[in-house]
């Protein structure tokens, strides 16, 4: 377990671990930055983060991308060995997740207060903004923590919210924000609008990597992301209050302070989104920025979003799988692990022990009743406890031999689904499917299952020995 104080400390660890690539040649904002970040995720699952320091037309702009975009980087975020297998990262994430809440460490000042701009704010001049995908409506801040409090319960820290919402820079100090009704900030905005007030927000860009993961995690309304970040890093989370009373990470590179304007909605989008399709245009809320602060020589952080897999899929991997596991495990202690890695968990694979015939189908229905299930999970595959849900070879084997479409596929009509799922009919509704790929057990006597194969004696010892020999051979 390790607590990084800021993005810079994490980048230096990535550098030491050979997980940070510096592009020293001159690049153009478009299309180079997005193209390079997109290309990285096509190269493989162990790629480094990428930092650009020489951007055409700029004197000192620094942009870093793909910070979370590989399993080694994800392991390092958690302070684990960079070779930690996926399954191990899942169990460690879940273990820490269940230690909620950690504590806040409040301090009076932060490095991001070094430079302050309060007059004539022009975000296009103050930040290295650029386009990601050709159909995007503009330049986005898409990996920032947006912080807000509930105007009806202002002093209650537990209902303060830290979330990653896409922000379109639409004017010199004007942003569009995507807040779908399921998001916590939509509740806070509704409370502000009923009072006829603007909603104060702070937007923190370029953070240590844990809080970014927490901002992407669907926590309960009364769970504070900073307290979860503290539990995840094993150390109180250090924050600084803005003049309005919003808590901001101590280590942020840029902090924008402003207001979501009550009663205003304005054209936003499209933006290339997590399902691998552009979102349409909507009239979304608007933020006016009143103040921008930043560290000296600030580093701008962005995430490339495209057709999966991209860095976004790493950001939404364990942060989606762990809450589903924790909630499901309360109902069914037999559940062993949950893989919700695919397209923000539109597909969920659950491995579970089964107590009697039909049990796995109930576990599948349990997934659909979790908060994630309500808005995302569309296909649920349930496998036995001897199948690693993170190993698709094993999952496909289980489906091949342990499922009979005649009795193992359930289709549940017209359930709630995420608005961004292009398959919805109408948008926001979809049928959902459970595939029971567990071995039938009594009183379910379908199939003709003999003895399942195991491995010859000493296979594990040979595996270790041969791995070493192969490494030697390739030296």
């Amino acid at each position: 377990m390790r607590a990084y104080q800021d993005l810079r400390e994490f980048l230096s660890v990535l550098e030491t671990e050979q997980q940070l690539l510096h592009v020293t040649e001159q690049v153009n904002f478009e299309p180079d930055l997005a193209a390079a970040a997109c290309a990285l995720t096509k190269i493989g699952e162990t790629v480094p983060a990428i930092q650009f320091n020489k951007i055409a037309g700029c004197t000192d702009a620094q942009v870093v991308m793909n910070v979370h975009g590989s399993w080694p980087n994800h392991a390092l975020v958690l302070g684990m060995d960079k070779k930690a297998p996926l399954r191990e990262q899942f169990f460690e994430f879940v273990r820490r997740f269940q230690r909620y809440p950690g504590e806040l460490e409040r301090v009076a000042s932060a490095p991001w207060q070094e430079v302050v701009v309060q007059k004539d704010i022009n975000l296009f001049e103050l930040m290295p903004l650029f386009r990601l995908n050709r159909g995007d409506g503009g330049f986005y801040i898409d990996k920032a923590c947006t912080i807000a409090r509930d105007p009806d319960d202002w002093d209650n820290d537990d209902v303060e919210n830290v979330g990653i919402y896409r922000l379109q820079v639409k004017g010199p100090n004007r942003l569009g924000i995507q807040t779908v009704p399921q998001h916590d900030i939509a509740i806070q905005l509704a409370h502000a609008e009923r009072r006829g007030e603007d909603l104060p927000v702070a937007i923190a860009v370029g953070n240590e990597p844990i809080v970014t993961l927490m901002g992407a995690t669907p926590l309960l309304y009364n769970q504070l992301e900073y307290k979860m970040a503290a539990a995840m890093q094993g150390k109180p989370y250090r924050v600084v209050k803005t003049a309005k009373g919003l808590d901001v990470p101590w280590g942020s590179e840029y902090v924008l302070e402003g207001r979501v304007l009550a009663g205003q909605r304005e054209m936003e989008g499209p933006f290339g989104e997590f399902p691998g399709y552009y979102s349409g245009g909507h009239r979304y809320p608007v933020i006016e920025i009143d103040r921008l602060s930043h560290r000296k020589n600030p580093i701008f952080e962005s995430v490339y979003v495209g057709r999966p897999w991209t860095e976004l899929d790493f950001l939404q991997a364990m942060t989606t799988s762990a809450p589903v596991f924790v909630q499901l495990n309360k109902m069914f202690p037999e559940v062993v692990a949950v893989n919700a890695l695919y397209t923000h968990g539109l597909v969920v694979i659950v491995s579970t022990k089964t107590r009697y015939g039909g049990f796995a189908k109930s576990v599948g229905m349990g997934v659909l009743t979790t908060p994630h299930g309500l808005g995302y999970a569309k296909f649920v595959i349930v496998v036995d406890a001897d199948v690693d849900p993170f190993n698709l070879d094993q999952v496909m084997w289980a489906m091949s031999v342990r499922a009979n479409p005649g009795g193992d596929v359930l289709i549940l009509p017209n359930l709630a689904e995420n608005l961004l799922d292009p398959a919805g009919q109408p948008n926001g509704m979809a049928h959902k499917m459970i595939i029971d790929a567990t071995t039938p057990i009594a009183p379910d006597r379908r199939g003709d299952y003999g003895e399942v194969l195991d491995t010859p004696e000493q296979t594990e010892q040979w595996q270790q020995k041969l791995t070493t020999m192969i490494a030697e051979l390739r030296k």
Binding site: N28, F29, E30, P31, A56, G57, C58, T59, A61, N122, F124, E125, L129, F130, R131, R134, G135, G137, G138, F139, Q168, V169, K170, G171, P172, G176, T179, V180, P181, A186, L189, A190, E193, R194, R195, G196, G263, R265, E266, M267, E268, P270, G280, G281, H282, R283, Y284, P285, L419
Partner: protein
């Protein structure tokens, strides 16, 4: 004849776009923004993003349609 001082939005073709920023190293790029549909582009982008004639049909917008886009989330009435 085209007036060179008028900036046309490649996406919605309205002519009330303006300059948002110029490159810190002078003369390398200019960022433009549309004040109707809020499309933003840079002078050094691929043509399909900056030239109204080359802008991809599928992403074009008609300013008249903007008022009919869905409102999300619903605006709450003041109590």
């Amino acid at each position: 004849m085209t007036n060179p001082s008028v900036i046309i939005c490649p996406r919605c073709r309205s002519n009330i776009a303006s300059i948002r920023a110029t490159s810190p190293i002078s003369g390398v790029w200019t960022v433009f923004g549309c004040n109707t549909c809020f499309y933003t582009w840079r002078s050094t982008e691929p043509e399909e993003n900056r030239d109204p004639e080359k802008y991809l049909q599928v992403f074009r917008l008609n300013p008249a349609d903007l008022a009919n886009l869905p409102i999300v989330p619903t605006i709450q009435a003041k109590r």
